[in-house]
Amino acid sequence: MPTIFIDNKPYNVQPGQNVLHAAVSHGLNLPYFCWHPALGSAGACRQCAVQHFKDESDTQGRMVMSCMTAATEGSRFSINHPTAKSFRADIIEWMMTNHPHDCPVCDEGGECHLQDMTVMTGHNKRRYRFKKRTFENQDLGPHINHEMNRCITCYRCVRYYRDVAGGEDLHAFSASNKVYFGRFEDGPLDSEFSGNLVEVCPTGVFTDKTFRAYYSRKWDLQTAPSICQNCSLGCNISPGERLGTLRRVQNRFHPEINGYFLCDKGRFGHRFVNEKNQVKVVHPIGPLIKEGLMIGIGSPRASLEANYALRKLVGADNFYDGHTELEHRLLSKIMEILSQHPETASLEDVRNADAVFILGEDLTQTAPMLALSIRQNLYKRAQDGAGTQGIPDWNDLAIRNAQPELPKVVYLAHDIPTKLDPLVTHKISTDLESIQDWIPALKAAKNPVIIAGTSLGSEPLIRMSIELRKMAPQAKLCYVLPAANSFGLMLLKPKSTPLLTHRGETAIVLENNLPLSTLSHLHNIIAIDFLESETTKNATLALGCGSFAETTGSMVNNEGRAQRYYSVFERREQRPESWRILRDLGDFSWQNIDELCAEFAQEFPIFEPFLKQVHNTQFRIDGQKIARQSPEFSGRTSMYTNISLHEQAPLQDPDSPLAYSMEGYHGDMPPDLASSYWRPGWNSVSAFNSLSHATSGVKLKP
């Protein structure tokens, strides 16, 4: 690990880092714009200037851009040197010549990288006395708001949108100080990953339009670590709530899963939490009087805890799969394979693989972040190629110039055009007749990944995945599953639904909208769900539960990684966890999630390592619970005066080490408990640079 000196203090840095990355990783206050840990360096904004010294005796030094300078052993730099320091203030002054003074009405205000950097450089007096240039904004569709006047021309948006995400309909137009980032004409952005513009843009040009519709400042949002519910990948998210509604979802860094980005489904697909047609909460619920046979139908979108409680209530023999019959068959096959070959591929494995073989999944649709990971993979191959030409990993422009065509290492079996096709080196049909052509590449690859899944409902494709795996023992398997907790549900060994024909007197249907064909077999239904559905409408009794955003539970993603999501908020009219409803129906004694999990782990030892590792309700830092609200959270005493003039006591959370309060712990914490990036002087997402990048979650073996 090389040591560099910054203002005469030694710092250990990661080999191959640039000076800027090294400095901000150590929490040093060095401002920057165009660099981003996932985009690399561009040298465009000139904001990260530092003084570079030849040796200890050199006091003059030479000004360099820290993002474009390698942090090599023994090299010496100064952030505080007057030349570099005043140059950085000059840069901000230039950027601010055209930036509107609209922070108070700007969506980015309070979590704006530009605000932070401006304060950091000390620029506070306007000397530019001429008119600002103005732009016309574009309608970029329902998700992204466009306000070009705020642009400081750092080029991050196009470097992300085009170079990383492969989008083609956003570009830089014109030149000089009139560079315009937008589309050729108004219209919704094409990319499935457009939402990341909101976090990539260092100021308020690209903001979240869905958030804007019911806006709150960052410091007024209550947040908790959560897991995306929209596909089986288990990306880490940070939802934000205020006044009982979920306002937005932001990315939560996970090194092995989503990294710095989310797909649009994950970022914008949470509005159902605020829907009006919620199933009514019934309270209190007495114990169920069991008469005759009772079956339970589990759910791949409900938590492990809820599925376990249902299984406990109806008994293992009467616990059925909430997947369709076909899905159940495919998933059983996948589980069988994974019990033999538990080495599944994470998204990071996909990003690092030297060849990717996809069997019948249109990833952009079925697991979008897998598609993005493949794009990132190809760039990594280009980085490797450029590395042999002496170009460091962070020198993005040079890498793209040296490797004008991304190497193609993707093999795809699919019968329709997919968005990944342009990156595919060899495409075959799903009859797999030409699969032989893949074998040499598969065998030659050092760390290939084989991707298959359930979306086409094809068992031969899944069987082929294991055939390929047998030919290449070094390969890792990756299955795209139907829902967020499909893996977890299968671990509870449910029976296939067709077996229930005419068996059930009473069926408890957990968080599931069953097909009418299944519903028609059931005559006495107790449905537990958050939103109304055909199932709840056909139920004898419909019991309302809370959504993922207001409950705490655990899920297992497609790689078998168990992760916990925490309740972000409690509504004034509390909506219970499904497992609490089932507890009451079954007259069980669990008072909190820990008590349930203790029993759960006994019955299913497979979950033991996870339940040991997960931060249980007793976990404290410095004797404190972790605050879900920021220290600046406003309106605590008045936000519910429309209901009661008395200030209400903070709600208690019996299921997590988190508090529904601004009081509690705010500092460094384990990554699976952190949901808001902040440190002094860094109010935007850029604060993630100095945070722990440790992994979380526990991989389970079926």
């Binding site: 040298g43 000059d90 230039w94 422009l397």
Partner: protein, 421 residues
């Protein structure tokens, strides 16, 4: 023959086409190089002392030698002629392109042989319609005579029209169909150039020298000069002089000789005030520098640059601030918008100069301009465009301080007939 590059160019405006060119001894240098190893051609060019004529004055042989050779070198290698002549006041390459296109093609064949390039591009300024037409015709003729198409393919690529495309790495991006923004260096084009391959980029005038060096040898070539650097140079003069134009003269001809002999002195009623020696991106010279030999080494010695060697003369009837405004507006407009100092700094400079010209200049503005002249200098920007723009600004502020103050005091431009409002 003391005007090897332009001596044959016809005075009726027509180009020298292939038959005439061959009669004049054209393409003879190809038989010279056919008896040489590529490395020996490079060494000969290096020994000749030929310096790049695009403005920077880097040794051509040195650049050629930087291209990787041998079996391990990546292929195809590219040779690019930078014919994107957009420097204000500069019109020397146009003369060569329109008058003798085969001379350039021959020069490129020599260079391509030396670096073993198999594909060549002439990246030519889009507005040079006639040059483009003639280059295309000449390339066609060279193909039909078999000079091209054997070991070298050549394409004429008209620029879509930005000043920054004259910056060699922005040129490569433009050629690849990308935004014309400069690339980060290192890697340098000889190692990783266009489409990621080794690439050599030379100016038109530079390449036109090569056949003559090969044909006549380096002693002859060096003897052409009366200055420190070798060869001839196409100098030009524009402004309120009696006979503005361009002339091929011995390298090291003084600015005074250019101005007083070749350009015939100032127009009647106009007095000399200052000049920009080589396009817009060079320092102003006052009377005291007129006896400096115009070559790269002599101008560097007195702390300034010759640039393209095509001077713009400022007289006493033209507002120097108006001239600065015109220049800085050009640089501002042509900034690619990649790096902050150039993009936003030049805009600020242009705004201030406009304010002076409309009588709204303030004393604090002068300090602001001085700050910009310093900040836009070398080391703080991504490429050389802004430092080029800072050269006339810094020296203009130094030499014309009184004029700035007069604009403030009189609350208007004191030049009744100033050209640049």
């Amino acid at each position: 023959m003391n005007k090897p590059l332009t001596g044959h160019i016809r005075t009726d405006g027509e180009a020298i086409w292939i038959d005439d060119y061959l009669k004049l001894g054209g393409y003879q240098s190809l038989s010279v190089i056919s008896k040489m190893l590529p490395q020996d051609v490079t060494k000969l060019i290096n020994d000749s002392g030929l310096m790049g004529r695009g403005g920077a004055g880097v040794s051509t042989g040195f650049k050629m030698a930087a291209v990787p050779m041998g079996e391990k070198a990546a292929t195809p290698k590219y040779l690019i002629c930078n014919a994107d002549e957009m420097e204000p006041g500069t019109f020397k390459d146009r003369w060569l392109l329109e008058g003798n296109p085969h001379q350039l093609i021959e020069g490129m064949l020599v260079s391509a042989y030396a670096i073993e390039a198999s594909v060549a591009y002439i990246f030519v300024r889009g507005e040079y319609k006639l040059a483009i037409k003639r280059l295309e015709q000449a390339v066609k003729e060279a193909y039909s005579k078999g000079f091209l198409g054997q070991s070298l393919d050549m394409h004429v690529h008209p620029s879509a029209g930005r000043y920054i495309c004259g910056e060699e790495t922005a040129l490569m991006n433009a050629l690849e169909g990308k935004r014309a923004t400069p690339r980060s260096k290192p890697p340098f084009p000889p190692a990783i150039g266009v489409w990621g391959k080794p690439t050599l980029i030379n100016n038109v005038e530079t390449l036109c020298n090569l056949p003559h060096i090969l044909n006549h040898g380096i002693d002859w070539y060096k003897a052409l000069s009366k200055g420190v650097n070798a060869g001839t140079k196409i100098y030009g003069v524009s402004g309120h002089v009696k006979k503005p134009g361009a002339w091929e003269l011995p390298m090291g001809t003084t600015a005074r000789e250019l101005l007083e002999v070749h350009a015939g002195g100032m127009k009647d009623g106009y007095e000399f005030k200052a000049l920009l020696p080589g396009g817009a991106s060079t320092d102003f010279w006052l009377e005291d520098k007129l006896d400096t030999p115009m070559d790269f080494a002599s101008t560097a010695k007195i702390g300034t640059r010759m640039g393209t060697g095509t001077m713009i003369v400022l007289d006493d009837k033209t507002c120097p601030i108006g001239m600065l405004l015109s220049l800085e507006k050009f640089f501002k407009q042509e900034s690619c918008g990649w790096c902050t100092p150039c993009r936003d700094g030049l805009s600020w400079v242009a705004e201030i100069l406009s304010a002076f010209e409309r009588g709204d200049g303030r004393e604090a503005d002068i300090a602001q301009l001085e700050r910009h002249a310093r900040l836009l200098g070398p080391g703080s920007t991504f490429c050389a465009l802004a430092p080029g723009a800072a050269s006339p600004l810094a020296t203009g502020l130094k030499y014309f301080k009184d004029e700035f103050l007069r604009h403030i005091q009189e609350k208007s431009c004191p030049y009744a007939n100033h050209l640049h409002r």
